[in-house]
Symmetry: C2
C-alpha cells in the first residue's frame, strides 16, 4: 500500500488539539517521515505507527513547526536501542543544530545517523521500490517539497496465455524478466503477448510551505495525490502573500493546473477553530480536495 498518514496539520502554534506539521508516507511497509514538528514522537505513539520502520526523515525547512520534534525523536531512537541506519535530509545548518544538542547532553547514539544537507532540487533516494526527489518551494526561508514516485513493477506472466503458446515452464522466469520466446521452428512469441502490464507506479508530492507559485507545477504534474498548504481561507490572500503562505483557492488552483487526481490540504492557521470552510472553498476550484486530518491515512 502507498499511503499518507497525517500526524500534524496545524501551522506555527499548536491549537484546538491540532499539532505542527508531520506526516508519514508509507510504501510496502517502509515509513518515510516528512517534517517533524514538536510532539511528533508522541503522535507516532498515539497513532501506533512503528518508529522502527522509519529509516528516512525529510525536513522541508527550519521553521520550528516543521522540525522542533526531530531532536527528541532522534534521541528516543537512541534510548530505544534503534539499530538500523537513519537518514535525515534537510537544509543547512540542520546537522549543526542536532550535533550541538547531542554534544551538550554527552549523548552518543547507538545507531548510524546520517544528516544530509539539501541545497537544490535533487534525487535523494532511488531504489527498486521508490524514487524520492526534492524541489524548491517559495517560502520566507529556504524550503523544499518532496515527491515520492513508486517504481513501476515488471510485467506479470499470464500462465494461460503462455500455455496456449506452448512455452515450456522452464522459460517462465525469463518471460517475467521481459524476454521474448523463440520456438524451435524459429517463430517469435513477443513478451507482451504472454505477460500483463503492471499498474504504473503512483506518485505523491508534499509541497511544504509555499506561497502560490506555478514553478511547482513541473514537479507535480499529473501526480496521483499532492499535499499543499492552505494556511488561510481565501479572504486573507494578502496576508498569505506577505507571509509566504497560500490560501485554499490558491492550493486548489495549483492542483488543477498540475492536473493531479487528488489534493490534500493542511497547515491551517491557529486563527481557525473549525476547518469545514477550508474544504468548501478549495472544492469550488478543485473538487477532489480533502482536509488532511490528524490520524487519518489517505491512500495515494
Amino acid at each position: 500500500m502507498f499511503a499518507v498518514t497525517i500526524l500534524g496539520n496545524n501551522s506555527a502554534v499548536p491549537a484546538f488539539d491540532r499539532h505542527p506539521t508531520s506526516q508519514v508516507v508509507t510504501l510496502d511497509g517502509t515509513n518515510y517521515l516528512v517534517d517533524c514538528g514538536e510532539g511528533t514522537q508522541i503522535q507516532l505513539i498515539n497513532y501506533k505507527i512503528r518508529r522502527s520502520k522509519i529509516s528516512h526523515i525529510f525536513i522541508s525547512h527550519l521553521h520550528g513547526d516543521h522540525y522542533f520534534g526531530l531532536i527528541g525523536l532522534l534521541n528516543s531512537f537512541g534510548l530505544l536501542s534503534h539499530q538500523q541506519e537513519l537518514h535525515v535530509y534537510g537544509p543547512s545548518p540542520l546537522k549543526e543544530i542536532i550535533d550541538l544538542q547531542l554534544k551538550v547532553a554527552e549523548t552518543t547514539l547507538c545507531y548510524p545517523l546520517h544528516i544530509h544537507h539539501i541545497t537544490e532540487a535533487a534525487t535523494l533516494v532511488d531504489n527498486e521500490k521508490i524514487s524520492i526527489k526534492c524541489f524548491r518551494t517559495n517560502h520566507r526561508i529556504e524550503c523544499y517539497g518532496f515527491s515520492f514516485t513508486e517504481k513501476k513493477q515488471p510485467r506479470k506472466l499470464d500462465p494461460d496465455k503462455a500455455k496456449e503458446k506452448e512455452i515450456p515452464s522452464s522459460f517462465y522466469r525469463r518471460l517475467e524478466a521481459g524476454e521474448d520466446y523463440t520456438r524451435k521452428d524459429g517463430t517469435l512469441v513477443k513478451n507482451e503477448t504472454v505477460t500483463i502490464a503492471a499498474e504504473p507506479g503512483k506518485r505523491y508530492a508534499f509541497c511544504a510551505d509555499t506561497k502560490y507559485d506555478e514553478s511547482l507545477l513541473p514537479h507535480i504534474a499529473g501526480f496521483d495525490m499532492i499535499y499543499h498548504e492552505t494556511t488561510y481561507l481565501d479572504n486573507l490572500r494578502e496576508r498569505a502573500e506577505s507571509r509566504f503562505h497560500s490560501t485554499t483557492k490558491q492550493a486548489a488552483l495549483i492542483a488543477k493546473k498540475a492536473g493531479v487526481k487528488k489534493l490534500l490540504i493542511g497547515h491551517f492557521s491557529s486563527k481557525y477553530d473549525t476547518l469545514e470552510e477550508f474544504e468548501a472553498e478549495a472544492r469550488e476550484v478543485f473538487a477532489e480536495t480533502r482536509l488532511a486530518l490528524e490520524g487519518v491515512c489517505y491512500e495515494v
Copy 2:
C-alpha cells in the same frame, strides 16, 4: 496560593501517556516554569495554565527530556505576541542552542528574552514575594535543582487590640510597617502587642535529576515540600547509581533526612506502565509521599 502543577512526570522517552519533565510553580498568580520537555506548550494548553503569566523559566540540565520543548514555547510566545520580559535560567550553552535556532528561522522575537547561564549555587530571583535559588545536584552532566522560598509576610494589624490600647487610626500604617507606638504620657506600646504574626513563608524545592546524594540536604532542610526523582523502583539500585538516577527508597530517605513535610516523586522510567509500587515503596521510608501526577496541582 503556593502550589505545583505537574505537566510531565516521565523520564527520557514519552510512554503510557506520560510526558517528559515539566512543572509549574505558582505563587500569587505568577507562574514559574521548571524544566520544559518536548510538548510542554501543549500540556500548558491541556491544563489551561496561562502562558502569559509565565515570566521565568528554569532549566535544570541539557538532557533533552528537560528542555527540548523550550525552543517551541519561546517561539510560540513570539507568535502569540507575548509582550513582557521573559527570563530563562539554565546551564551553558543553552543560549547558543536557542540563538542558533532563532537565527536559522530568521525569527526576531517581539519580547525581551534574557537567557541567564547558571554556573554554581546562587540566588536567581529575589523580590518581595519570593526568593529562588539554584543548587547543584549529582547527575551525569551539569545539573541544578531549584528552591522556591515564599517571603514571610509582614505582621497584620489587630484593630481591636489597637483600639483597646487607644492608638489613633492615623498611626495604623506605621504599626503595619512594624513600628512601636509611644503615647503622649511616654508609655510604649510594643508593636507585637497590637499586631498578629503572619504565617512563615513556605518552601518548595525541585531536586532535578540526581543520584542519591546527601549534599542536597542543606538546600532543602525543613522544607514544606520537595520533588525528588525516582526513576526506578528500589530493586534497580545499581542501574540507578550507574545512570546517576535515584530509586524510590533513596528519594524517600533524602526527604526523611532533610526533615521535609511532604515528598513528591516523579521522573518515572518508561519501563513501568503503572506507578502504584513507586508510592508504596517510598512510603515505607517516608509516609508523606505522593506520586507527581500530570495535571494535578499540589499545594506546598
